[in-house]
Amino acid sequence: MTTRSIRAWYLVHKWTSLVCTAFLLMLCLTGLPLIFHEEIDALAGDPATAMAGPPSSGDDPALEPLDTMVAKALAARPGDVPLFMAFDNASPILTVTTGPRPDAPASEMTIQLFNRATGAAVGQVREEGVMHFLLQLHTDMFLGLPGMLFLGAMGLLFVAAIVSGVVLYAPFMRKLRFGTVRTSRSTRLKWLDYHNLLGIVALAWMSVVGLTGVINTLATPILQLWQMNELAEMTRAYAGREALPPARYGSLDKAMAAARKVLPGNNPQFIAFPGGAFSSKHHYAVFFQGSTPLTERALTPALIDAETGRLTDVRPMPWYTLALSYSQPLHFGDYGGLPLKLLWAVLTLFTIIVLGSGLYLWIGKHRAPLELRVREVESGGTVVPAG
C-alpha cells in the first residue's frame, strides 16, 4: 500500500468517524439497555410475560373467537375502530390496536392486551417510561421520519468508517502479530492497539448490526413502496372504490378461515384492518408467518374482502420487505436467548470502546501534521506524531 493511498483512507476514516461518533455513542448507550427490554419489562411486572395456555396464533378450539376479542376491545374503547390484531407463538397473549379512524397515526392508537384462552383483558400497552424514552431516542431522537433517516445516514457513515478502518489495519499490522497490545509504552499506544484489536474482532458484528440498523431506519419508505406496488396490484379490482366503513366490516373468524384454507399449516403474525398502512381500504390483511424457524419472519399476506370474507389474493412479501423483516432480529439480538443478548451487550461495549478510543486518539494529536499521523499508521504506532 502506498503512502498516498494510506493517506486517502486515513482521511476517509477520520471524517466518516468524526461525523458519526457522537450519534453512534448515543445509539450504543441507549441500545445497551434496550437489548434487555424484555427482561426489564418482566421485572416491572408486565402482564404479557407470564401467561400459560395455547399460543394465540394457533387455531386451538380452546381459544376465544377473534370476533369476540375485537368486540371486547371496542367495548373498552367506545367510538374507536379496530386497526391491528397481533398474535403470539408462545402464549395466548393477543393484542388489539384501536384508534379513532382507520388511518389514525400511531400517536392516537391504543393497544389492549388480552388472554385469548380466557378472553380476559390483561391491560394496556403503555408507551411511556424510561424504556420507551430510550427506544424513541434510539429510533428517531423524537424527530419522526427525518430523525430516523438521519440516524440511517449516520449508520452508513459508521459502515464507511468500519471499511476504511479495516483498510488501515493492513499497513498498521504489517510488522505486528495479531492481538498485539502494547500497554507499557504510552497511553496513546495502548489505546491505539485496543482500537485496532477491538475493531477488527468485532468487525463482522458491527457491520451487520450497523447495516441492519440502516435498513430498519428505512421501514417507512419500504412499507410505502410495498403498498404502492405489490399491495396495489393485489387489490387492483378494488381501486377507485369508496373506503369500506367500519360498520360494514364482516366476521374476522370467517376471514381467517378463508385465509387458513390457502395457507394450511401456517399461523398468522398479525392482521391489519382496512385503511391503514398495511392493507387496502377494503381488506383484512392477514400476515402469515413461514412454517419453519428460519422462514417464520418471511411473511405472506392474505387479503380478504372485509365485507364478504372472501379471499382476494395471497402473495409472499417482496425482497425489500423481507430484508426489513430479517434486519429486525439481526439488529436487536433477541433471537437466541439470554446468552446471545449478553454477547450483544459485550460487543456493544467493544463498539463503545472503539468509538471512545478513536475520539481519544484524534483529540490527542489532531494538531500534528497529517504526514506524521499517516506515518503513525504506517509504522504500526511506533512513530508518534509530535504536537
Binding site: 505486528l176 495479531f178 492481538g179 497490545v181 502494547r182 477491538l198 474482532v201 468487525l203 437466541g336 436467548g337
Partner: protein
C-alpha cells in the same frame, strides 16, 4: 514482536476467521432453537474470548 513484515494474507488470516465465525453465529440462532442457539453462542463468543486472550497473552 521484532519481526519482519508479513503478507496481507497473514495480516488478515485471523480477522477473516473471526468474521466468518461471527457470521455463522449471527445466522445460526435464526434457523432454530436448541443446539442452533448454542452454536451461535460459541461462534460469537470466540471473538469476545479472543480479546481477553490478547489482553493477557499478547500484552507487552
Amino acid at each position: 514482536m521484532k519481526r519482519g513484515r508479513h503478507s496481507m494474507r497473514a495480516t488478515f488470516a485471523i480477522p477473516a476467521l473471526l468474521a466468518v465465525l461471527s457470521l455463522v453465529g449471527l445466522v445460526s440462532a435464526l434457523t432454530g432453537d436448541g443446539w442452533r442457539d448454542a452454536v451461535s453462542w460459541v461462534a460469537l463468543g470466540i471473538p469476545v474470548v479472543t480479546v481477553i486472550w490478547a489482553g493477557r497473552a499478547r500484552r507487552s
